[in-house]
């Protein structure tokens, strides 16, 4: 169940990043981080943050923006948020 949830979450994150950065989902690797692709720059990062807020109905604070700089960090943060909601 947990693996299924993670796999779904992974897919959603991949899709959000591809949309926000306007790149092919194939370029989104599981360990991708800020700066690995030219599109994931400061503007791209803020676009990702805004899309995550919209998609998951959350508010990401300025402190958190600086921490969510890789897919693993985003995944861990969203998992924690989901657990807190339960």
């Amino acid at each position: 169940m947990e693996r299924e949830l993670n796999s779904t979450l992974e897919g959603r994150i991949q899709s959000i990043l591809a949309d926000a950065l306007q790149i092919s989902p194939n370029l989104i690797t599981p360990d991708l981080a800020f700066g690995d692709l030219p599109q994931w720059d400061s503007m791209g990062h803020m676009e990702v943050m805004m899309r995550l807020e919209e998609h998951f109905g959350i508010e990401i604070t300025a402190d958190t923006i600086a921490q969510l700089t890789s897919i693993p960090a985003i995944r861990q943060y969203l998992t924690q948020m989901a657990q807190m909601k339960e």
Binding site: G35, P38, D41, S42, M43, H45, M46, E47, M49, M50, I60, T61, A62, D63, T64, I65, A66
Partner: protein, 397 residues
């Protein structure tokens, strides 16, 4: 001269922390605007106009104003304000507007909007501050550089400057290399009463390939572009003329179109840049305290244009990329940015292909001081009579 006034109610109230930023952008909304004000509650905007406007012009103005407001405030993350130093409550001997006395004593002479020549007292004071900033640079054994006032358009394009700060650009051009054009210009060009240069047509001018430089450190990054930084890290320093057009916001020495900036620039790995930026701040803390400047160091953002404003400001705030040295202006109960401590992450390293020995992009940062502004703030705090100044400065000057 104000000919009419237009009051606009923003579709959404402007939050208090954004009032100054939004107000400054109204300068670029329309040439008819002489002055713009936002009510403290953020629920009303007053535009003072050069001429009366028709209903259609009014609707057009209102639409542009609403566009500025909505693009700057909607969905914006409230920036985190972090104060690193606070000496604003230092007792000060002077509380008047120094401009009046500066003009009376011929220390300040306006050539055109945002362009001033400075007299001996202000010049000596600037030289003194310069010596202290050079002292900071020397403490890092910084390599000295001299950079031109012109900068290639291709470089600014490469670092996304046109997208981030289009409103403040100053273009440099020349007559096309054509004898007929040069002849015609020499015979027909004149300046009208408002100071506008009138030539027979714009086609006389060559395509813009260069601009007047908006920052000193850009020239260092340009000189390092597309090559490995074999030494691994670098500290450099330079002073130079910078140009940022600010339309109706150009006021006295507070906001100049053409100003002088001294920078100490760090290039290398992330830790090298961040550690040195912090060391520079601590060393400047001693210098500012010694000279008795009333100031505060707090997190800040660059004046991005409306399209990029929300995201870039949130990003700078989140990653603590910029801290401003804000000096007190006692006569108006406000502060003025006289310098900043900046970290650009690997932005220039990536965009300009400056690589470290391990092949990763270099990180950069700089400490920058506006020379006219710090002299102005100091005069606003201590006045023009040197007997009120701290002994160390009086003796040095």
């Amino acid at each position: 001269m104000v000919a009419s006034k237009l009051i606009i109610t923003p579709n959404s109230p402007i939050p208090g922390h954004l009032i100054k930023e939004v107000q400054s952008k109204f300068a670029y909304v329309d040439e008819s605007i002489i002055r713009a004000e936002i009510a403290p509650e953020g629920d009303a905007i007053v535009l003072y106009l050069r001429q009366p406007v028709s209903a259609m012009q009014r609707a057009d103005l209102e639409a542009k104003v609403q566009r500025v407001v909505s693009s700057m405030i909607q969905g914006g993350v409230r920036p985190k304000v972090e104060v690193l130093e606070d000496y604003l409550d230092r007792p000060l001997p002077y509380h008047q507007d120094p401009n009046i006395e500066l003009i009376e004593r011929a220390e300040l002479s306006q050539e055109t909007e945002g362009v001033f020549s400075l007299g001996p007292l202000v010049t000596r004071l600037i030289d003194y501050f310069e010596s202290r900033f050079v002292e900071l640079a020397n403490s890092f054994d910084a390599r000295p550089y001299r950079f031109p006032a012109l900068i290639p358009a291709s470089f600014l394009g490469r670092v996304n400057y046109f997208r981030a700060f289009p409103h403040s650009l100053t273009f440099a051009t020349h007559l096309r290399e054509d004898l007929d054009i040069i002849d015609r210009f020499s015979q027909k060009a004149y300046c009208d009463e408002e100071g506008n240069l009138n030539a027979s047509n714009d086609e006389m001018f060559a395509k813009v390939k260069t601009l007047l430089s908006p920052a000193v450190c850009y020239h260092l990054y340009l000189s390092l572009a597309d090559q490995p930084l074999t030494v691994g890290n670098l500290v450099a320093t330079a002073v130079g003329n910078c140009f940022r057009y600010e339309a109706i916001n150009l006021t006295s020495l507070e906001r100049l179109w053409n100003f002088t900036m001294r920078e100490v620039i760090f290039v290398g790995p992330k830790d090298f840049v961040l550690e040195n930026r912090e060391i520079a701040r601590q060393r400047m803390n001693h210098i500012f305290n010694e000279i008795g400047l009333a100031y505060r160091v707090e997190s800040a953002n660059d004046p991005f244009f409306i399209g990029e404003f929300r995201k870039q400001v949130a990003f700078q705030s989140a990653f603590q990329l910029k801290y401003e040295i804000r000096a007190s202006l006692p006569f108006k109960g406000s502060t003025l940015a006289v310098g900043s401590y900046n970290y650009h992450q690997d932005f220039f390293g990536r965009h300009l292909n400056i690589t470290l020995p391990d092949g990763s992009p270099a990180h950069t940062g700089c400490v920058a001081f506006g020379l006219e502004r710090i002299a102005y703030a100091y005069l606003a705090q201590y006045g023009l009579d040197s007997h009120r100044w701290p002994t160390s400065i009086r003796e040095a000057i």
